[in-house]
């Protein structure tokens, strides 16, 4: 249970908002839940709701609205590739397709070992460092970008990063 495992962190989160606005804590609490469980299931909705004074259905509404909370299972790590306009102009679509091919999956599919699910993500604010992907997992969200504009991230480099993560 989050309440026991993260008692201090939850107190810290709640202390940032006025006491009568506990519901403001729903987003940070959901980030905590997403990290801990990898998805937000119905029992988790109730758990988070109890912590910030919301009904489970209200929490479900929040989960459905924002892209970084997930109500369905996936691989241990979500590999989220940006293919929006500025990235696409710098080859991100081909990058995404080739990475999928090398991993042996299609978009929104999970590798056979359960490690990675490849997903589209909307612009992540790294347009000058395309191609770019982010990893969402139990540690949060982390960018993997091209080192420089004239050194675009290659599929091989991306696979190396993924293999390193897998070995951890």
């Amino acid at each position: 249970m989050l309440a026991e495992k993260y008692a201090d962190e939850i107190q810290k989160i709640l202390s940032r908002y006025p006491p009568e606005w506990k519901r403001s804590a729903v987003m940070p609490l959901l980030h905590l839940a997403q990290r801990e469980y990898g998805q937000v299931t119905p029992p988790v909705l109730a758990e988070v709701g109890a912590l910030c004074g919301l009904e489970p259905t209200q929490v479900a509404g929040v989960v459905g609205f924002y892209s970084l909370y997930h109500d369905h299972p996936a691989g241990r790590r979500r590999v989220q590739i940006c293919t929006d306009l500025p990235c696409a102009l710098r080859g991100a679509e081909r990058f995404g397709q080739e990475l999928c091919q090398k991993l042996g999956v299609g978009w929104d599919e999970t590798t056979a070992d359960g490690e990675f699910t490849v997903e589209h993500v909307m612009c992540v604010g790294a347009c000058d460092k395309a191609p770019v992907f982010q990893i969402q997992d139990e540690t949060g969200i982390h960018f993997h970008e091209s080192p420089a504009p004239d050194q675009p991230l290659t599929v091989e480099q991306a696979l190396e990063s993924l293999n390193r993560l897998k070995a951890q």
């Binding site: 403001s24 102009l89 679509e93 612009c123």
Partner: protein
Amino acid sequence: MDHILLRHRDIPDIHQLDVYLRHGGFEAFRKAVTTLTPAQVIDEVKASGLRGRGGAGFPTGLKWSFLTKGVYPRYVVVNTDESEPGTFKDREIIERNPFQFIEGALICAYAAEANTVYNYIRGEYWDAAAWLDECLAAARARGFIGPNVFGSAYSVEFHNHLGAGAYICGEESALLESIEGKLGQPRLKPPFPADKGLYGKPTVVNNTETLTNVPYILQHGAAAYKQFGTEKSPGRKVFSLSGNVNRPGNYELPLGVTLRELIYTHGGGVPGDKKVKAVMLAGASSSVLAVTDDILDTALDYEAVAAKGAMLGSASVIVLDESVDLAWVALKTTRFFKHESCGKCTPCREGTYWMLNILERVNRGEAVKADVDLLHNVASQIQNKCLCPLGEFSVTPVLSSLKAFRADFDAHAKDAAPKPAPKPAAAKPAAAKSAPAKAAPAPAGD
């Protein structure tokens, strides 16, 4: 030219508090709290002519002066939710020059007589937000945040609030809803945030870059700030340059720099020396401008860009070279806005769905010319009917592309009047026919 916003480019370790302090850090905040009244701070910012850098360009000092008198507590909310395709300036500021941003937000809080700052950072900036948390802790340890700053009666708290992947939360009232633990959907205005903002209290909402200007203004004075830029658009601006350029990235330049200088001098020109076909000056929501010498010589300030029928917005310049197909660009921007529509108002929710539907058909080579007219029709019906700017944004690139580059759309259409039964065998030649156009955007990066 020394930077005043991207100062880490001149002073590499300025992201460390000690280094920031050695370079005059927090002196402007000290000056404000110990020698100026909130009203005097507002007057100085008004006199500087600083305008909001998040896109709307509203005069910053004026915004601060609008707070409903005599109502407390008040809040300062910072918009670090930058999510528009093509915009990546605030991230560099919080990662590399965080204390100047923090100082600017604290000065704003003092001027607004607010004791709490919430900084709304998009969830994807997870690592940057964690770093900013560390910076806040360092500033708190030195007494710049907390009770009785500089021994005065003024106390202030500062918290980060992490978003979770919703472009709409960059709209100020949706952002406030989001902090309140609700769906990030825009509010009806009025009341405006200055009257009833966060938790129903008077609230200033400012962009990250806007506030990062403030320490310079307080320290060096409004007159010094006005030496940069133009009369109506004073100051420096961070231009985010992306797309088909050799050196994409952020460039801090005076407002009024020409597009030609930005693309060719700073951006290093276009890969393969291709011609620039079009530019989008304000990210994905831009009015697409066909590029001519006249456009290249346009001064990038709020007024001059508006005179060309476009908006400078947050100055997120996406360069499209001669190989780019505008029907594909419209597909990309529409897919973004359809995904990001919050669903509250019908023209945006339904309209973006239908625009995307038609654009997918066009780009697959399955459309007829009448579909292109239909696209125009649907876009026109969304225009001026939405609750917030997002719906309007979705239409701008589509209608402007149709106006300037209609041929790009028609090139995909098969002219056969009655649509044949959708047999795979019949669909193939059509798809093949459109292949060159569809493949067109790829060469730049691949």
